[in-house]
Protein backbone atom coordinates (compact mmCIF):
# COMPACT_ATOMS: atom_id res chain seq x y z
CA UNK A 1 0.00 0.00 0.00
CA UNK A 2 1.28 3.41 -0.97
CA UNK A 3 2.32 5.80 1.71
CA UNK A 4 0.69 9.19 1.71
CA UNK A 5 2.21 12.17 3.48
CA UNK A 6 0.12 14.26 5.86
CA UNK A 7 0.50 17.20 3.52
CA UNK A 8 -1.03 15.16 0.69
CA UNK A 9 -3.94 14.08 2.87
CA UNK A 10 -4.74 17.64 3.90
CA UNK A 11 -4.57 19.03 0.39
CA UNK A 12 -6.51 16.07 -0.98
CA UNK A 13 -9.40 16.48 1.44
CA UNK A 14 -9.48 20.27 1.06
CA UNK A 15 -9.65 20.05 -2.73
CA UNK A 16 -12.26 17.30 -2.62
CA UNK A 17 -14.52 19.24 -0.28
CA UNK A 18 -14.14 22.43 -2.28
CA UNK A 19 -15.04 20.69 -5.53
CA UNK A 20 -18.08 19.04 -3.98
CA UNK A 21 -19.20 22.31 -2.39
CA UNK A 22 -19.04 24.20 -5.68
CA UNK A 23 -20.85 21.44 -7.52
CA UNK A 24 -23.67 21.26 -5.00
CA UNK A 25 -24.13 25.02 -4.82
CA UNK A 26 -24.38 25.29 -8.58
CA UNK A 27 -26.99 22.54 -8.76
CA UNK A 28 -28.96 23.89 -5.80
CA UNK A 29 -29.02 27.38 -7.30
CA UNK A 30 -30.10 26.20 -10.72
CA UNK A 31 -32.94 24.04 -9.39
CA UNK A 32 -34.18 26.50 -6.78
CA UNK A 33 -36.70 28.15 -9.07
CA UNK A 34 -38.44 24.90 -9.91
CA UNK A 35 -38.44 23.75 -6.30
CA UNK A 36 -39.97 26.99 -5.04
CA UNK A 37 -42.60 26.80 -7.74
CA UNK A 38 -43.49 23.30 -6.56
CA UNK A 39 -43.91 24.47 -2.98
CA UNK A 40 -46.11 27.37 -4.06
CA UNK A 41 -48.21 25.14 -6.29
CA UNK A 42 -48.77 22.79 -3.41
CA UNK A 43 -49.90 25.61 -1.15
CA UNK A 44 -52.34 26.77 -3.82
CA UNK A 45 -53.65 23.23 -4.22
CA UNK A 46 -54.29 23.03 -0.50
CA UNK A 47 -56.09 26.39 -0.44
CA UNK A 48 -58.18 25.28 -3.40
CA UNK A 49 -58.93 22.00 -1.67
CA UNK A 50 -60.22 23.97 1.31
CA UNK A 51 -62.89 25.53 -0.91
CA UNK A 52 -63.61 22.12 -2.42
CA UNK A 53 -61.89 22.69 -5.73
CA UNK A 54 -59.63 19.93 -6.91
CA UNK A 55 -56.63 21.02 -8.94
CA UNK A 56 -53.52 19.21 -10.01
CA UNK A 57 -50.13 20.86 -9.71
CA UNK A 58 -50.10 22.14 -13.29
CA UNK A 59 -53.40 23.98 -13.08
CA UNK A 60 -53.02 25.15 -9.50
CA UNK A 61 -51.77 28.65 -10.29
CA UNK A 62 -54.45 29.25 -12.89
CA UNK A 63 -57.28 27.91 -10.75
CA UNK A 64 -56.03 29.86 -7.77
CA UNK A 65 -56.30 33.06 -9.74
CA UNK A 66 -59.73 32.07 -10.92
CA UNK A 67 -61.24 31.44 -7.49
CA UNK A 68 -59.33 33.75 -5.18
CA UNK A 69 -59.78 37.52 -5.19
CA UNK A 70 -57.67 38.93 -2.42
CA UNK A 71 -55.06 38.00 0.11
CA UNK A 72 -55.20 40.06 3.28
CA UNK A 73 -53.08 40.15 6.35
CA UNK A 74 -54.84 41.40 9.43
CA UNK A 75 -53.74 42.26 12.93
CA UNK A 76 -55.46 40.94 16.03
CA UNK A 77 -56.99 44.39 16.59
CA UNK A 78 -58.92 43.89 13.38
CA UNK A 79 -56.97 46.34 11.21
CA UNK A 80 -55.97 45.29 7.72
CA UNK A 81 -52.21 45.42 7.22
CA UNK A 82 -51.92 44.43 3.60
CA UNK A 83 -54.11 43.69 0.63
CA UNK A 84 -52.95 41.77 -2.40
CA UNK A 85 -55.13 41.59 -5.46
CA UNK A 86 -54.87 38.06 -6.83
CA UNK A 87 -56.60 38.88 -10.11
CA UNK A 88 -54.14 41.50 -11.29
CA UNK A 89 -51.19 40.57 -9.08
CA UNK A 90 -50.81 43.98 -7.43
CA UNK A 91 -50.30 44.98 -3.84
CA UNK A 92 -53.09 47.40 -3.04
CA UNK A 93 -51.97 48.09 0.48
CA UNK A 94 -48.94 47.21 2.55
CA UNK A 95 -46.05 45.23 1.14
CA UNK A 96 -46.36 41.65 2.36
CA UNK A 97 -48.39 39.10 0.45
CA UNK A 98 -50.42 36.92 2.79
CA UNK A 99 -49.41 33.97 0.65
CA UNK A 100 -45.76 34.48 1.60
CA UNK A 101 -46.45 34.95 5.29
CA UNK A 102 -45.14 32.17 7.49
CA UNK A 103 -47.84 31.63 10.05
CA UNK A 104 -45.41 30.20 12.56
CA UNK A 105 -43.27 33.33 12.48
CA UNK A 106 -46.31 35.51 13.06
CA UNK A 107 -47.42 33.37 16.00
CA UNK A 108 -43.91 33.69 17.44
CA UNK A 109 -44.01 37.46 16.96
CA UNK A 110 -47.28 37.64 18.81
CA UNK A 111 -45.96 35.48 21.59
CA UNK A 112 -43.04 37.87 21.94
CA UNK A 113 -45.56 40.67 22.51
CA UNK A 114 -45.36 42.15 19.03
CA UNK A 115 -48.04 42.53 16.44
CA UNK A 116 -48.39 39.65 14.04
CA UNK A 117 -49.86 39.79 10.54
CA UNK A 118 -52.30 36.93 10.01
CA UNK A 119 -53.47 35.86 6.58
CA UNK A 120 -57.01 35.76 5.28
CA UNK A 121 -57.76 34.62 1.74
CA UNK A 122 -60.85 36.06 0.11
CA UNK A 123 -62.42 33.90 -2.56
CA UNK A 124 -65.58 33.77 -4.57
CA UNK A 125 -67.14 30.57 -5.72
CA UNK A 126 -70.50 30.02 -7.37
CA UNK A 127 -71.22 33.72 -6.98
CA UNK A 128 -70.67 33.69 -3.24
CA UNK A 129 -67.82 35.30 -1.42
CA UNK A 130 -65.96 33.54 1.33
CA UNK A 131 -62.86 33.52 3.45
CA UNK A 132 -60.13 31.00 4.10
CA UNK A 133 -58.25 31.13 7.38
CA UNK A 134 -55.07 29.09 7.69
CA UNK A 135 -54.12 27.74 11.10
CA UNK A 136 -51.12 25.98 12.55
CA UNK A 137 -50.61 24.23 15.87
CA UNK A 138 -49.05 21.22 17.49
CA UNK A 139 -50.31 17.67 17.40
CA UNK A 140 -48.73 14.86 19.35
CA UNK A 141 -45.48 14.46 17.41
CA UNK A 142 -45.21 17.54 15.28
CA UNK A 143 -46.99 20.43 13.65
CA UNK A 144 -50.58 20.16 12.44
CA UNK A 145 -52.07 22.53 9.88
CA UNK A 146 -55.49 23.37 8.62
CA UNK A 147 -57.29 25.75 6.32
CA UNK A 148 -60.83 26.69 7.26
CA UNK A 149 -63.01 28.01 4.44
CA UNK A 150 -65.93 30.10 5.67
CA UNK A 151 -69.02 31.29 3.88
CA UNK A 152 -69.66 35.00 3.37
CA UNK A 153 -71.24 35.25 6.82
CA UNK A 154 -67.75 34.50 8.17
CA UNK A 155 -69.35 31.83 10.29
CA UNK A 156 -70.42 28.70 8.43
CA UNK A 157 -67.68 26.30 7.39
CA UNK A 158 -67.91 25.27 3.76
CA UNK A 159 -64.69 23.29 3.56
CA UNK A 160 -61.58 22.33 5.51
CA UNK A 161 -58.22 20.75 4.96
CA UNK A 162 -56.13 19.24 7.68
CA UNK A 163 -52.58 18.05 7.36
CA UNK A 164 -49.83 17.07 9.72
CA UNK A 165 -46.12 16.52 9.83
CA UNK A 166 -45.74 13.27 11.72
CA UNK A 167 -48.86 12.06 13.50
CA UNK A 168 -49.27 8.32 14.04
CA UNK A 169 -50.61 6.54 10.94
CA UNK A 170 -54.05 5.07 11.59
CA UNK A 171 -54.57 7.21 14.68
CA UNK A 172 -53.68 10.90 14.73
CA UNK A 173 -52.88 10.88 11.02
CA UNK A 174 -56.58 10.29 10.34
CA UNK A 175 -57.13 14.05 10.58
CA UNK A 176 -55.92 14.20 7.00
CA UNK A 177 -58.76 11.89 5.91
CA UNK A 178 -62.16 12.79 4.53
CA UNK A 179 -63.82 10.87 7.33
CA UNK A 180 -62.56 13.37 9.87
CA UNK A 181 -62.91 16.47 7.71
CA UNK A 182 -66.36 15.94 6.21
CA UNK A 183 -68.30 16.58 9.46
CA UNK A 184 -66.76 20.08 9.73
CA UNK A 185 -68.77 21.27 6.77
CA UNK A 186 -71.82 23.24 7.85
CA UNK A 187 -70.54 23.80 11.39
CA UNK A 188 -70.31 27.34 12.72
CA UNK A 189 -67.36 29.03 14.35
CA UNK A 190 -69.35 31.84 16.00
CA UNK A 191 -71.88 31.65 18.82
CA UNK A 192 -75.19 33.52 18.63
CA UNK A 193 -73.51 36.72 19.87
CA UNK A 194 -70.92 36.64 17.13
CA UNK A 195 -68.14 35.55 19.46
CA UNK A 196 -65.61 33.05 18.10
CA UNK A 197 -66.35 29.78 19.83
CA UNK A 198 -64.38 27.58 17.41
CA UNK A 199 -65.18 23.94 16.74
CA UNK A 200 -64.67 21.46 19.53
CA UNK A 201 -63.18 18.13 18.50
CA UNK A 202 -64.48 15.79 21.15
CA UNK A 203 -65.71 12.31 21.95
CA UNK A 204 -69.34 11.46 21.29
CA UNK A 205 -69.96 14.79 19.61
CA UNK A 206 -73.55 15.57 18.74
CA UNK A 207 -73.72 15.39 14.94
CA UNK A 208 -76.31 18.15 14.99
CA UNK A 209 -74.32 20.39 17.34
CA UNK A 210 -73.18 23.48 15.48
CA UNK A 211 -69.83 23.73 17.20
CA UNK A 212 -68.56 20.18 17.61
CA UNK A 213 -67.27 17.24 15.61
CA UNK A 214 -66.23 13.74 16.56
CA UNK A 215 -62.66 13.19 17.69
CA UNK A 216 -60.50 10.34 16.42
CA UNK A 217 -60.61 7.32 18.67
CA UNK A 218 -57.09 6.54 19.79
CA UNK A 219 -55.91 9.92 18.60
CA UNK A 220 -56.77 11.93 21.67
CA UNK A 221 -53.57 13.94 21.81
CA UNK A 222 -53.84 14.90 18.16
CA UNK A 223 -57.49 15.80 18.60
CA UNK A 224 -56.61 17.98 21.57
CA UNK A 225 -53.91 19.64 19.48
CA UNK A 226 -56.40 20.36 16.71
CA UNK A 227 -58.80 21.74 19.29
CA UNK A 228 -56.25 24.10 20.75
CA UNK A 229 -55.06 25.16 17.31
CA UNK A 230 -58.53 26.04 16.06
CA UNK A 231 -59.51 27.85 19.23
CA UNK A 232 -56.34 29.95 19.36
CA UNK A 233 -56.00 30.71 15.69
CA UNK A 234 -59.63 31.51 14.97
CA UNK A 235 -59.93 33.73 18.05
CA UNK A 236 -57.20 35.98 16.61
CA UNK A 237 -59.59 37.06 13.90
CA UNK A 238 -62.39 38.04 16.30
CA UNK A 239 -62.08 41.78 15.71
CA UNK A 240 -61.65 41.38 11.98
CA UNK A 241 -64.68 39.12 11.85
CA UNK A 242 -66.72 41.61 13.87
CA UNK A 243 -65.74 44.38 11.50
CA UNK A 244 -66.46 42.37 8.38
CA UNK A 245 -69.83 41.23 9.69
CA UNK A 246 -70.66 44.77 10.76
CA UNK A 247 -69.88 45.76 7.19
CA UNK A 248 -72.51 43.30 6.02
CA UNK A 249 -75.28 45.41 7.55
CA UNK A 250 -73.97 48.96 7.76
CA UNK A 251 -73.03 49.70 4.16
CA UNK A 252 -69.33 49.33 4.82
CA UNK A 253 -67.13 51.67 6.81
CA UNK A 254 -63.98 52.95 5.17
CA UNK A 255 -61.91 51.65 7.98
CA UNK A 256 -61.71 48.23 6.43
CA UNK A 257 -60.40 47.32 3.08
CA UNK A 258 -62.71 44.40 2.44
CA UNK A 259 -64.91 45.43 -0.47
CA UNK A 260 -68.09 45.37 1.51
CA UNK A 261 -70.24 46.95 -1.21
CA UNK A 262 -70.67 43.66 -3.03
CA UNK A 263 -71.88 41.92 0.07
CA UNK A 264 -74.12 44.80 0.97
CA UNK A 265 -75.73 44.66 -2.47
CA UNK A 266 -76.43 41.01 -2.12
CA UNK A 267 -77.87 41.70 1.27
CA UNK A 268 -80.21 44.33 -0.09
CA UNK A 269 -81.35 41.93 -2.73
CA UNK A 270 -82.69 39.87 0.08
CA UNK A 271 -80.15 37.12 0.14
CA UNK A 272 -80.17 35.46 3.47
CA UNK A 273 -77.31 36.42 5.69
CA UNK A 274 -77.48 34.77 9.04
CA UNK A 275 -76.19 37.05 11.72
Amino acid sequence: MKNFSNKYIFIYSAVLVAVVAVLLSVVAMSLKGRQDANVRNEKMQILLAAINVEADANQAAEMYQQYFDQELTVATDGSVLSVYNVKNGEMEQGSVRAFDVKLKDQQALEKAGQQGAFPVYVFSKDGRKGYVIPTQGNGLWGAVYSNIALDEDFNTIIGVTFSHESETPGLGAEIAEQKFQQPFIGKQILDENGQVISIAVKKNADPNGAHEVDAISGGTMTSNGVNAMLAADLARYQKFIDATRAGLVTEGSDEFQVPVEEIAVEFEEGEEVSL
Binding site: M1, K2, F4, Y8, I9, Y12, S13, L16, V17, V20, L23, L24, V27, A28, L31, R34, Q35, N38, V39, N41, E42, A57, P169, G170
Partner: protein, 202 residues
Amino acid sequence: MKIFTDPLAKNNPITVQVLGICSCLAVTAQLKPALVMAISVTVVVALSNLIISLMRNTIPPRIRIIVQLVVVSALVILVNQVLMAFVYDVSKQLSVYVGLIITNCIVMGRLEAFAMSRKPLESFLDGVGNGLGYGIILVIIGAFREIFGSGSIWGYPIMEKLGLYQIGYENNGLVIMAPMALILVGIIIWIQRTKDKDLQEN
Protein backbone atom coordinates in the same frame (compact mmCIF):
# COMPACT_ATOMS: atom_id res chain seq x y z
CA MET B 1 -21.40 -10.26 -16.71
CA LYS B 2 -21.48 -12.24 -13.50
CA ILE B 3 -20.67 -9.02 -11.66
CA PHE B 4 -23.89 -7.59 -12.99
CA THR B 5 -26.22 -10.57 -12.57
CA ASP B 6 -25.04 -11.93 -9.23
CA PRO B 7 -26.56 -9.19 -7.08
CA LEU B 8 -29.90 -9.64 -8.83
CA ALA B 9 -30.44 -13.06 -7.28
CA LYS B 10 -27.63 -15.09 -5.76
CA ASN B 11 -26.08 -12.16 -3.96
CA ASN B 12 -29.12 -9.92 -3.67
CA PRO B 13 -28.44 -7.00 -1.32
CA ILE B 14 -31.74 -7.34 0.51
CA THR B 15 -32.52 -11.04 0.60
CA VAL B 16 -28.98 -12.42 0.83
CA GLN B 17 -26.75 -9.65 2.13
CA VAL B 18 -29.69 -8.36 4.23
CA LEU B 19 -28.76 -4.71 3.70
CA GLY B 20 -31.10 -1.77 3.18
CA ILE B 21 -34.02 -3.35 5.03
CA CYS B 22 -35.02 -0.11 6.75
CA SER B 23 -35.82 1.82 3.59
CA CYS B 24 -37.34 -1.32 2.12
CA LEU B 25 -39.98 -1.26 4.86
CA ALA B 26 -40.55 2.46 4.74
CA VAL B 27 -41.10 3.36 1.10
CA THR B 28 -42.93 0.33 -0.27
CA ALA B 29 -46.53 1.10 0.72
CA GLN B 30 -47.09 2.12 -2.90
CA LEU B 31 -45.43 1.23 -6.17
CA LYS B 32 -44.44 4.70 -7.32
CA PRO B 33 -42.28 5.77 -4.37
CA ALA B 34 -40.79 2.27 -4.32
CA LEU B 35 -39.74 2.59 -7.94
CA VAL B 36 -38.38 6.12 -7.51
CA MET B 37 -36.43 4.96 -4.48
CA ALA B 38 -35.10 1.97 -6.45
CA ILE B 39 -33.93 4.23 -9.27
CA SER B 40 -32.39 6.72 -6.82
CA VAL B 41 -30.43 4.03 -5.01
CA THR B 42 -29.28 2.51 -8.30
CA VAL B 43 -28.04 5.88 -9.52
CA VAL B 44 -26.24 6.59 -6.26
CA VAL B 45 -24.61 3.16 -5.95
CA ALA B 46 -23.55 3.02 -9.59
CA LEU B 47 -22.12 6.53 -9.74
CA SER B 48 -20.42 6.40 -6.37
CA ASN B 49 -18.89 3.06 -7.30
CA LEU B 50 -17.66 4.57 -10.56
CA ILE B 51 -16.28 7.73 -8.98
CA ILE B 52 -14.58 5.97 -6.10
CA SER B 53 -13.09 3.44 -8.47
CA LEU B 54 -11.68 6.22 -10.64
CA MET B 55 -10.22 7.88 -7.57
CA ARG B 56 -9.11 4.71 -5.83
CA ASN B 57 -5.38 5.09 -6.44
CA THR B 58 -5.32 8.65 -5.19
CA ILE B 59 -7.32 8.08 -2.01
CA PRO B 60 -5.15 7.91 1.09
CA PRO B 61 -6.26 4.76 2.98
CA ARG B 62 -6.35 6.60 6.27
CA ILE B 63 -9.18 8.89 5.16
CA ARG B 64 -10.86 6.59 2.65
CA ILE B 65 -14.13 6.24 4.58
CA ILE B 66 -14.44 10.01 4.82
CA VAL B 67 -13.77 10.40 1.12
CA GLN B 68 -16.37 7.76 0.35
CA LEU B 69 -18.87 9.50 2.58
CA VAL B 70 -18.29 12.86 0.92
CA VAL B 71 -18.82 11.38 -2.53
CA VAL B 72 -21.94 9.47 -1.50
CA SER B 73 -23.42 12.45 0.35
CA ALA B 74 -22.84 14.73 -2.60
CA LEU B 75 -24.60 12.29 -4.93
CA VAL B 76 -27.51 11.82 -2.54
CA ILE B 77 -27.99 15.56 -2.17
CA LEU B 78 -27.97 15.86 -5.96
CA VAL B 79 -30.61 13.14 -6.28
CA ASN B 80 -32.73 14.79 -3.60
CA GLN B 81 -32.52 18.19 -5.28
CA VAL B 82 -33.50 16.70 -8.62
CA LEU B 83 -36.46 14.84 -7.08
CA MET B 84 -37.65 18.01 -5.32
CA ALA B 85 -37.51 19.91 -8.58
CA PHE B 86 -39.09 17.37 -10.91
CA VAL B 87 -41.22 14.89 -8.94
CA TYR B 88 -42.21 16.96 -5.94
CA ASP B 89 -45.08 14.76 -4.73
CA VAL B 90 -42.93 11.64 -4.75
CA SER B 91 -40.07 13.43 -3.03
CA LYS B 92 -42.50 14.38 -0.25
CA GLN B 93 -43.55 10.75 0.16
CA LEU B 94 -39.97 9.59 0.30
CA SER B 95 -39.21 12.38 2.79
CA VAL B 96 -36.18 11.52 4.89
CA TYR B 97 -35.48 8.23 3.18
CA VAL B 98 -33.69 9.82 0.26
CA GLY B 99 -31.30 11.47 2.68
CA LEU B 100 -30.90 8.14 4.40
CA ILE B 101 -29.52 6.57 1.23
CA ILE B 102 -26.22 7.94 2.57
CA THR B 103 -26.45 5.52 5.45
CA ASN B 104 -27.83 2.70 3.31
CA CYS B 105 -25.37 -0.09 3.99
CA ILE B 106 -25.51 -1.22 0.37
CA VAL B 107 -23.71 1.90 -0.80
CA MET B 108 -20.83 1.92 1.69
CA GLY B 109 -20.65 -1.85 1.54
CA ARG B 110 -20.13 -1.92 -2.20
CA LEU B 111 -17.58 0.89 -2.07
CA GLU B 112 -15.47 -0.82 0.54
CA ALA B 113 -15.84 -4.34 -0.78
CA PHE B 114 -15.66 -3.65 -4.48
CA ALA B 115 -14.96 -0.21 -5.87
CA MET B 116 -11.82 0.41 -3.78
CA SER B 117 -10.04 -2.43 -5.54
CA ARG B 118 -11.63 -2.82 -8.97
CA LYS B 119 -11.58 -1.06 -12.32
CA PRO B 120 -14.18 1.65 -13.07
CA LEU B 121 -16.30 -0.29 -15.56
CA GLU B 122 -16.55 -3.35 -13.32
CA SER B 123 -17.40 -1.16 -10.36
CA PHE B 124 -20.07 0.67 -12.29
CA LEU B 125 -21.69 -2.60 -13.34
CA ASP B 126 -21.49 -3.89 -9.80
CA GLY B 127 -23.25 -0.73 -8.64
CA VAL B 128 -26.01 -0.99 -11.24
CA GLY B 129 -26.46 -4.66 -10.42
CA ASN B 130 -26.75 -4.08 -6.71
CA GLY B 131 -29.06 -1.12 -7.20
CA LEU B 132 -31.32 -3.19 -9.43
CA GLY B 133 -31.19 -6.15 -7.07
CA TYR B 134 -32.38 -3.84 -4.33
CA GLY B 135 -34.89 -2.28 -6.70
CA ILE B 136 -36.47 -5.57 -7.80
CA ILE B 137 -37.33 -6.48 -4.22
CA LEU B 138 -38.68 -2.98 -3.55
CA VAL B 139 -40.88 -3.05 -6.64
CA ILE B 140 -42.23 -6.54 -5.89
CA ILE B 141 -43.12 -5.56 -2.35
CA GLY B 142 -44.41 -2.14 -3.41
CA ALA B 143 -46.70 -3.67 -6.05
CA PHE B 144 -48.04 -6.29 -3.65
CA ARG B 145 -48.69 -3.79 -0.88
CA GLU B 146 -50.38 -1.30 -3.16
CA ILE B 147 -52.66 -3.91 -4.77
CA PHE B 148 -53.75 -5.57 -1.55
CA GLY B 149 -53.45 -2.59 0.77
CA SER B 150 -54.93 0.21 -1.30
CA GLY B 151 -56.63 -1.77 -4.08
CA SER B 152 -54.77 0.10 -6.80
CA ILE B 153 -51.68 -0.22 -8.93
CA TRP B 154 -49.65 2.87 -9.83
CA GLY B 155 -52.61 4.87 -8.52
CA TYR B 156 -55.05 3.11 -10.87
CA PRO B 157 -57.96 1.72 -8.85
CA ILE B 158 -57.77 -1.81 -10.21
CA MET B 159 -59.88 -3.52 -7.55
CA GLU B 160 -62.68 -1.03 -8.07
CA LYS B 161 -62.60 -1.50 -11.84
CA LEU B 162 -62.76 -5.26 -11.40
CA GLY B 163 -65.86 -4.72 -9.32
CA LEU B 164 -64.51 -6.67 -6.35
CA TYR B 165 -65.89 -4.27 -3.76
CA GLN B 166 -69.46 -5.10 -4.78
CA ILE B 167 -68.93 -8.74 -3.95
CA GLY B 168 -67.63 -7.96 -0.48
CA TYR B 169 -63.90 -7.59 -1.04
CA GLU B 170 -62.06 -5.23 1.29
CA ASN B 171 -58.57 -3.79 1.33
CA ASN B 172 -56.28 -5.23 3.92
CA GLY B 173 -55.12 -2.53 6.31
CA LEU B 174 -52.28 -4.63 7.65
CA VAL B 175 -50.62 -4.70 4.25
CA ILE B 176 -50.04 -0.94 4.36
CA MET B 177 -48.27 -1.17 7.69
CA ALA B 178 -44.49 -1.64 7.82
CA PRO B 179 -44.53 -5.10 9.48
CA MET B 180 -46.15 -6.58 6.37
CA ALA B 181 -43.14 -5.50 4.31
CA LEU B 182 -40.91 -7.39 6.68
CA ILE B 183 -43.11 -10.47 6.42
CA LEU B 184 -42.99 -10.20 2.62
CA VAL B 185 -39.19 -9.91 2.64
CA GLY B 186 -39.15 -13.01 4.82
CA ILE B 187 -41.36 -14.88 2.39
CA ILE B 188 -39.16 -13.87 -0.56
CA ILE B 189 -36.06 -15.04 1.33
CA TRP B 190 -37.82 -18.30 2.13
CA ILE B 191 -38.77 -18.95 -1.49
CA GLN B 192 -35.33 -18.01 -2.74
CA ARG B 193 -33.52 -20.28 -0.30
CA THR B 194 -35.84 -23.16 -0.98
CA LYS B 195 -35.01 -22.97 -4.66
CA ASP B 196 -31.31 -22.24 -4.31
CA LYS B 197 -29.66 -24.87 -2.13
CA ASP B 198 -26.34 -22.95 -2.16
CA LEU B 199 -27.83 -20.23 -0.02
CA GLN B 200 -28.95 -22.56 2.76
CA GLU B 201 -26.95 -22.37 5.93
CA ASN B 202 -26.60 -25.18 8.40
